[in-house]
Each structure stands twice: as structure tokens, then as C-alpha cells.
Symmetry: C2
């Protein structure tokens, strides 16, 4: 493994940071532009750009918190105050929060959903790596609320759109031990 | 846009190369290990590693060509000799060819298919960027043959696995003009 390769070193040092460990300062406007510009370089078969991102600024976190609460109430009528509070608080972590949205609308070039998700995954990885090179931490979150009516409504998703995950960016408050990664032999074979 | 950022420059200079324009030499053994090691650094919620890669070495290209032919015959009984020949020849391009396989088997941590595809997309982007930094070209290919019985059988995919795309690596024979990329404002909004 060539640790003299700076790109590889960057990939290795990036790891997921839970939103509660992502604190201010978040990315500056310029850094955020660079993170999105990185996303724009993802492979995109048929040039359909089957994804978009919706930022959740500070003054909309309250709305997101309420949407999380409604989503929980809808799927668990028995959810108690502590659970509802926890769902609500999820909206207030990480200084920079956005929803990654997949577009599944039919296009002239027939690009399957799986390929569209690969394109989005490529865009996401570009964003995570860009954040890392800017010395910002990042975390991906998702969960059962992702496509609840309350969230779909808040983010004004069209019928063909799907909320895939939230991306969180900020300054890492406390680091965790490096996580182990799969060994190449585990996932590569040859015909 | 900060062009002094070397990571961004790398992302911009990478673009898809059609397999017919990827020629020998392909990646060395060491380079290929580094490309796969890059894949291993992808986000992987629940640590389930929901993907694997299967290389198609030179002596198996013939088998792949036959599988492409069978796949075409199965979906188009009227396919003529020229079409069948074209399908066959697709197996012989790019010095380094592999299938990216998604694993959808249920796991203890419930990770949805969309999240698994995001993880695979992240792994793929790491591989493409690593190839680029090694001065190798890369291309993603897919198509209707992807999950034809003949291909599933050749790659010994389990019932829970799905062939998502082929990855091609090699030396770029002829470059094409830089492709245009989406503008950030097109795909970013705020609540």
C-alpha cells in the first residue's frame, strides 16, 4: 500500500463523523461552493444529473425537527416524549446539513435507478473527499424518516424524487480511533 | 473555483473514457491493488461491505463475449450477425475489466438497497480518482445485458447479488474535449 500517494492518504484519513461530533465552524461559503463543485464532477451517464442537494439553514432546523417528530409519530404511535425529543434534536446537529435527493423521473436516455444511485454515490464521495482536504469533517445519516410524508413535504420532493441521505459537514470536535477497512482480498476475485 | 486545490484539479481532469479508447498498458499489479485499496475506504454504513468486484482476465474475455451474445439473443431474437458480433467484441476492450457487484442480501443492520448503492458509488469514485492520479484512464459501462442469465451465470452471482456496471481501466489512446459539468446553482437549493 503506497502511503506516499497523497490521494490515498486523504481517503484513509477520512472517516464518518457522527453529526453530534461535528461543530462550528462549518464550511465557509467558498468551501461549500468547492464541495458542490466537486459533486458536479461525478460520472453522469446520459448527462441527466439525477440528483440534487437541499441545504437546511439554521432558521429551518426547527421545521426539520418537527418533520422528524411527525415521521416518528406516524410510524410508531406509541413513541414516548423522550423518543420524540431525540427525533427532534437530530435536526440541530452539524453546522452544515443538507438532503441528497435522487431523481428517478424517466429520461430519454434510459438510465436505471441503480446507475443513478451510483452517480449520486460518486458525487457524495467527491464531496466527502473535498471536505476532508479542507480539514472539515463529514458524516452521512439516514433512517426511517427519510421518505416520510412530513419530510417529503418539507423538502418539496416531487413524486419521482427520493430522499436518499443527509450529508453533514463541520469541524470535528472529538476524533475516534481509525476504523478498520475491508482487506482487498475479501472483495476482489477473478473469473 | 479554487484551481489551486489539487484534489479539485484531479476531479476535473477525470472524465469517462470509452473502453475502445482504453489501451495497454493497463494498471500494474501494484496499481490495481491501490485502486482496490481506494475502494475499501468508501463509507459503509453498518460495515456490511455490500459490494465486490470480479476481474475478467484476458483468457476469460472469450467467455464474456459469448455471454454478451447470449444475452442479446435472449432479449432480441431478431438480432443479426453484425449486432451479435458487436456484442461479442465488447468483451475485448480495455486491458483491465471488472464487474461491480452489489449484494442485497438481508443483514442484521437493515441497510436499504439505495444506501448500498451509495456505498458502491463512493467506492467506484475512489477507484476512478485513484486511477486518474496514477495517470490511467477509466470508464464505466453498463447495459441491458448486465443481469442476463448468461452473465449472472458466468459471474456466479447469488440470488441476492446484482451486476451494477463494468469498470474499465487502461491507458487513454485519444483524448476527447473536456465535457461540460453542471453548474452548482442547477442542483443546489436551500429550504
Amino acid at each position: 500500500m503506497d502511503t506516499r500517494n497523497p490521494l490515498f492518504a486523504l481517503m484513509v484519513e477520512r472517516s464518518n463523523t457522527a453529526p453530534k461530533r461535528l461543530v462550528a465552524p462549518g464550511p465557509t461559503h467558498e468551501q461549500l461552493q468547492l464541495i458542490f463543485s466537486a459533486a458536479a464532477q461525478a460520472p453522469d451517464h446520459g448527462r441527466i444529473r439525477p440528483w440534487r442537494f437541499v441545504l437546511v439553514p439554521s432558521h429551518k432546523r426547527e421545521d426539520l425537527g418537527q418533520a422528524f417528530v411527525q415521521a416518528l409519530q406516524m410510524r410508531d404511535i406509541q413513541a414516548g416524549p423522550a423518543q420524540l425529543q431525540a427525533a427532534y434534536e437530530k435536526a440541530f446537529r452539524a453546522p452544515c446539513l443538507m438532503l441528497a435527493v435522487l431523481d428517478k423521473a424517466p429520461t430519454q436516455a434510459e438510465i436505471e435507478t441503480s446507475e443513478r444511485l451510483i452517480s449520486l454515490g460518486c458525487a457524495v464521495q467527491n464531496m466527502l473527499l473535498m471536505a476532508q482536504t479542507l480539514r472539515l469533517g463529514s458524516g452521512i445519516t439516514s433512517g426511517k424518516a427519510m421518505n416520510a410524508p412530513s419530510l417529503r413535504s418539507l423538502f418539496q420532493l416531487t413524486e419521482h424524487e427520493q430522499g436518499v441521505c443527509f450529508l453533514n459537514f463541520g469541524t470535528v470536535s472529538t476524533t475516534k480511533p481509525a476504523r478498520s477497512r475491508p482487506v482487498v482480498e475479501e472483495f476482489v476475485s477473478s473469473l
